[in-house]
């Protein structure tokens, strides 16, 4: 046995006791098994009961609540969209050109992001017909992304989602997201600390939504539904008549993560309810990250994009360099 191995074994013994055993693991896998069976449609009756429960809940007052009553929508809604979300016809692809920048990590946090400023300039084409597509990466720094062309079923799916499963009605979607993001759900969301107005489930739901908004598998229809749910999360505020970082007209859904100290803002296109941009500001109010949709819509092939005035969001020609210059400004 090498000296290093001995040292590492000794170090490993300093680990806190592992808090789960075989019984806990069995419960977890049984739950996963159940979720999969439900997802596969093998338990149609269960689905029907869930649907009936959701409908009943909606009839009772329109608020979505989980079984222990910890979650309830505020009932807030976005002003109505003036256009329907874009839907790709057979043979068409969803197109999104996005920019992302984040300020470099403070020295004491380099473990989490390798100490680098993060930048991304990428374009996604995704076919909902066969889950194929293309990712073109024009600039990526400290950002995990794989560019290339992807055949049927091979498009990267980091969130492991099947968008066809997503309900669109806000109460049903809320239940779906809460189930999905629960500790033992399909995609557990990390606990985040909501602002004082919110409860833990609000933070969990907010994170589940924001994790999905930038996913290229999420269609404009589902994204609009996600934003409809987001605006009802306890602790959010809605600002209308604002502009996004590119100066485009927007509604802003604002959430105070970390007990209200970090401000997350989702900018929503008033016409289509598409996501335009999002920002996060640090406790001192400075913007530390910006995600911006340059253009979005549907395309005929992986070589083209929508016409400049034919997208689901207004085209902006800002670059990552432009966004970097905005970092540190007040939102």
């Amino acid at each position: 046995m090498t000296d290093t191995k001995l040292l590492l074994e000794r170090a490993g013994r300093s680990a806190p006791d592992v808090a789960f055993g075989l019984e806990e693991f069995r419960r977890l896998r049984e739950r996963r098994d159940r979720v999969r069976r439900i997802r596969a449609g093998a338990v149609g009756l269960t689905l029907a009961v869930v649907a009936a429960t959701v409908a009943f809940t909606a009839l009772q007052g329109g608020d979505a609540s989980d079984t222990d009553g910890q979650y309830a929508s505020t009932g807030a809604t976005l002003p109505p969209a003036t256009r329907s979300p874009f839907v790709a016809a057979p043979g068409e692809l969803y197109y999104r050109a996005v920019l992302f920048v984040r300020a470099g990590c403070p020295e004491d946090l380099v473990e989490e992001c390798y100490g680098n400023e993060v930048r991304l300039d990428a374009t996604y084409w995704w076919s909902p017909n066969d889950d194929s597509g293309r990712i073109a990466v024009d600039d990526a720094q400290a950002y995990g992304i794989e560019g290339g062309r992807f055949g049927a079923g091979a498009f990267p799916n980091l969130n492991g989602i099947d968008v066809s499963e997503f309900p669109l009605e806000p109460a049903a979607l809320t239940e779906f997201l809460l189930e999905r993001s629960a500790e033992a759900g399909v995609s557990p969301a990390p606990l985040i600390t909501p602002p004082p107005e919110g409860a833990p489930r609000d933070g969990q739901l907010w994170r589940a939504i924001t994790d999905l908004l930038a996913d290229p598998h999420v269609t404009p229809t589902v994204r609009a539904a996600l934003l409809d749910v987001a605006v009802g999360v306890q602790g959010t505020t809605l600002e209308t008549g604002v502009v996004d970082p590119a100066g485009r007209p927007a509604h802003a859904i604002v959430f105070g993560n970390w007990g209200g100290e970090l401000e997350e803002r989702l900018y929503v296109d008033p016409d289509t309810h598409e996501l335009l941009a999002s920002t996060t500001s640090s406790p001192d109010g400075a913007i530390v990250e910006i995600y911006l949709v340059q253009h979005a819509g549907v395309a005929d092939s992986t070589e083209t994009g929508p016409e400049p005035d034919g997208g689901s969001v207004p085209l902006t020609l800002l670059s990552t360099e432009d966004l970097v210059e905005m970092l540190g400004a007040r939102s």
């Binding site: 592992v18 980091l158 990390p190 970390w258």
Partner: protein, 173 residues
């Protein structure tokens, strides 16, 4: 990325053979290895569970492998790497996750010079060192888990060993 072992159905009754024993034999070792790399108890626990879930889903195939444990450890480190990548992808999560220090790890740091020295390494150096020196993987197998070339693993592990020796040698604890 996961190795290309296709899902073989999801029938608990068919896939339990020997799994419980495998779980008991490797749970602690995987958790400790992940804890050394992640330096966070909850992350190590979650990834350990997820790694076992992935192995369980494929158990009818994995148990026939020459080294099922190796597959488990590669899966665990793979998941941890993906999680870190997703943290970069989802900076809001990063912003939340970073400020609260792992108090348990801080306490351990104070009493264990090796753990403290490991904390000075980069995540990739820690991963390479743990895979090769603690879990006895070849550079090639570790490379699969880390998504890098075997030569890179050797460089990372070598650098980590040297740094570890320096830190421990220079520490009075």
């Amino acid at each position: 990325m996961d190795e290309a072992i296709p899902l073989s159905g999801f029938r608990v009754a068919d896939s339990d053979h020997g799994f419980d024993r495998f779980f008991d034999e490797h749970r602690e070792r995987l958790y400790r290895a992940l804890w050394l790399v992640a330096r966070d108890r909850s992350v190590a626990e979650e990834v350990t569970q997820d790694a076992f879930l992935k192995v369980w889903e494929r158990w009818s195939r994995v148990r026939g492998l020459e080294d099922p444990a190796g597959y488990l450890y590669r899966t665990g480190l793979n998941l941890l790497r993906n999680r870190r990548r997703r943290a970069a992808l989802s900076p809001r999560r990063f912003v939340h996750a970073s400020p609260p220090a792992d108090d348990a790890m801080a306490a351990v740091d104070a009493r264990d010079v090796v753990v403290r020295a490991l904390g000075t390494l980069t995540p990739r150096e820690r991963s390479a060192l743990v895979l090769t020196d603690l879990l006895d993987m070849t550079s090639e197998d570790a490379a699969k888990a880390l998504g890098v070339r075997a030569s890179t693993v050797r460089v990372l592990a070598g650098r980590a060993r040297a740094a570890l020796r320096d830190r421990i040698g220079g520490d009075d604890d």
